[in-house]
Assembly symmetry: C2
Homo-oligomer: 450 residues x 2
């Protein structure tokens, strides 16, 4: 449905632009949700983007579009825009989004834009720019509702109407003591169902889940997901409340982190390659391929080392692809299961023995199945038992070793605090390729004579 909706919007927009049906286009652009415009934007050419954008009347709508756009797209879009126009839109965006954007611009350009913004907004944004973009500090909203313990429910509702009309997600009210330390939380729902003279202190929950400004955003997402909360308060080193991270940002983080993990595991760069230039795309994929290249060269040395066996039985070579494919495949399965299990918290490094043993057993079982099948093919074709046994045992051995390496390596990386999603792929692939070829020729030497 969302995809369909984007397609319809896109087709209509392109048709109206082609026909120059300005009035009609103007109407559509201004009644469409900014999130839908953003989804369609990436499929428009830059001149079409500009034309659509110029039709938007409301600066709030422009600001929402900016907030929803992909970072790369937004950066390209504002490149030639006058600073005054950008600054006016930034004023209407949530401060965390502004800080994200400015953090990606050159220092000069960021400073120009900050200078053009009103004092209040720019100060908040500057505060956020001090935090690492991928921590709670970097993603928090500095607007939240903080009231004292002695405030009554009735006063709180009045304060909500008077002082917090612009707060983005006023579903929780935080309670602070005289030093602005976070001491409790109340949901808006609790507030409306108690008598107006009840003090916040008497109804607040004191066991508040909070995060520090330097907590990693992935950790923040896990906390929001685990406790099913709509926002988590962020405190600084003095336990002073400085912001909140809301669930809608958490949803985005979870999607982004999952995508990053998937791409990292495949060695395909961390960001979305399709929005990058050809050269950048190529460069980000070079290093991972280097691991395969090195593995290939080592495998060549191994094969060359066994030239004796190979020259006597030239058909040995014909089963190299099968052995590599089977062991590579099961190695990827094992490492994917473990890397994802660690990322989602379903697996802990403490379970290393149990997990590796189970993968080893799985590898052995699957190796027996496919080793037998491939051995039978060899026997049927060549009618030569030692050769069939060589291929069969090589499949069993290489698949078992691949399942072992695929599960053990990410566990070890996690234990020594190296991101298993990045490190596992190249190491497992290279190791599995070389080990498979080596085992095959070693078994051949034993069974078929040196």
């Amino acid at each position: 449905m969302t995809i369909d909706r984007t397609k319809i919007l896109l087709d209509t927009t392109k048709r109206l632009l082609r026909r120059g049906a300005t009035a009609h286009l103007h109407k559509i652009v201004n009644k469409t949700h900014a999130a839908d415009l953003a989804a369609a934007f990436q499929f428009l050419t830059s001149s079409e983007q500009r034309a659509v954008f110029d039709h938007i009347e409301d600066v709030e709508q422009k600001a929402m579009l900016f907030s929803e756009l992909d970072e790369g797209l937004l950066l390209a879009f504002i490149e030639d825009m006058p600073a005054e126009q950008i600054a006016e839109i930034l004023e209407h965006m949530p401060n965390d989004d502004v800080a994200d954007l400015l953090g990606k611009l050159s220092d000069d350009r960021a400073k120009t834009l900050l200078d053009l913004m009103t004092r209040e907004g720019s100060e908040e944004v500057e505060g956020l720019l001090g935090y690492d973009a991928e921590t709670a500090g970097g993603i928090m909203l500095p607007d939240f509702i903080a009231l004292k313990e002695e405030t009554t429910a009735g006063e709180a509702i009045k304060a909500l109407q008077r002082d917090y009309a612009d707060t983005e997600m006023p579903f929780y009210l935080y309670v602070v003591n005289d030093h602005d330390n976070l001491v409790g939380v109340i949901s808006l729902r609790q507030l409306v169902v108690v008598p107006p003279d009840t003090t916040l202190k008497s109804i607040m929950t004191t066991d508040v889940v909070s995060v520090q400004t330097d907590t990693d955003q992935e950790e923040v997402a896990k906390i929001v997901a685990r406790y099913n909360i709509l926002a988590v308060p962020v405190v600084d080193e003095n336990n002073t409340l400085v912001g909140i991270v809301t669930v809608d940002d958490v949803v985005d983080i979870i999607r982004e982190e999952a995508t990053e993990d998937i791409l990292k595991m495949a060695g395909a760069g961390e960001g979305f390659a399709e929005s990058q230039s050809l050269l950048k795309n190529t460069r980000s994929r070079l290093p991972w391929l280097l691991a395969s290249w090195v593995g290939g060269v080592i495998a060549f040395v191994v094969v060359a080392h066994f030239q004796g066996s190979l020259s006597r039985l030239i058909y040995l070579a014909a089963f190299i692809p099968a052995i590599m494919a089977m062991s590579g495949n099961i190695g990827t399965q094992s490492s994917t299961i473990v890397v994802r299990g660690l990322a989602t918290g379903r697996l802990s490094v403490k379970q290393i023995g149990e997990v590796v043993l189970k993968e080893l057993a799985t590898g052995l079982l699957l190796g027996l199945v496919y080793g037998l099948l491939l051995g039978l093919v060899v026997q049927w074709r060549y009618e030569m038992w030692p050769f069939a046994m060589t291929v069969g045992f090589a499949v069993v051995g290489s698949m078992t070793v691949a399942a072992l390496a695929g599960s053990l390596l990410p566990m070890v990386f996690a234990r020594i605090h190296i991101d298993p999603a990045v490190a596992t792929g190249p190491f497992v692939t290279t190791f599995v390729d070389v080990a498979g070829v080596f085992l095959y020729f070693q078994i051949a030497t034993w069974l078929l004579g040196a």
Copy 2:
């Protein structure tokens, strides 16, 4: 932090259980958040789980623990539990979670439990059981706040206190007409900031994003993520409001779907293999490996076909691993980028030409780099230009073809409505393995003589 907290809780629990420090354990279990207990539960043996569970006093806490536990774990845990005890806990769980659980039990057992539950709860659950578990109907909560257009803000707040005290997420109030059709939405926040005699009709937003009962849960998650809303209303075919899907469930869906996609792409089954039995795990990974096996057998036929070239230059075999590793790797990169791009909506099947062309160019560029490097290794070792060129060109050709297949196949699968995450892996791997080996020997035949 969450991981650390789980570890501390786990260590403490195990220590207290060993020592038989019942009183202390009792205290800890009852003051710990059910979500934390659930996280620790999977690392306990079943007798430890039972001991911890028996310490929980509050049935609400037991119900929250059930809701938070992994499905497989929960099913194992309740297997030997008396039906009366389970039914009592189910009464306190959200109805969507109860429906999920009952859907996984045998019909007999589900019926027994439903009969033991009070009428009101069991009727709601039975309603939910009529929907597919992975649709909006299967994940929605049937408790929501629905009021008529003429209701005033003051009356609405009274209704909230009186009739909706148990509603789980009362952040939006939905407005319905006399036929219970959804006509508008108001946030709780809007409600408290307007004068009490304002009618809902005059302040409600009429442009309500909603989903149908049969909308796929992944689509529901996309909508909640796109519009940054905390809950999306679910309507039936008559536009009658029947439930809501809340953002906390969406967070879980996004995590699960990402995990499923990652595991599917690696052919490692759809669920979490580490909680499955060894045989189930092995069985779920068999089919994908079959693709590699078939690829390996076809590659063997190809190599056997080129026995002439191979017997003349036995060292050709030594570079099979390098060519397979390089082309397999880039094929995985390309397909991962495209599959994930399609899953997140960043890529559309309409962009097929553009995407494939870009991957083709990337494959060619990377192929030139690594082909040159590998060719130089060959020349340095064997001082034989035609051989070096054979290996070099084979790398260029097989990597280009792999990038082409890796990007084209998922696009084609998506267009003909086959899940690209499932289908891409086996087809790309098999094709790339065979094509690489074929190209290599074909080029060898040309350059080194037939």
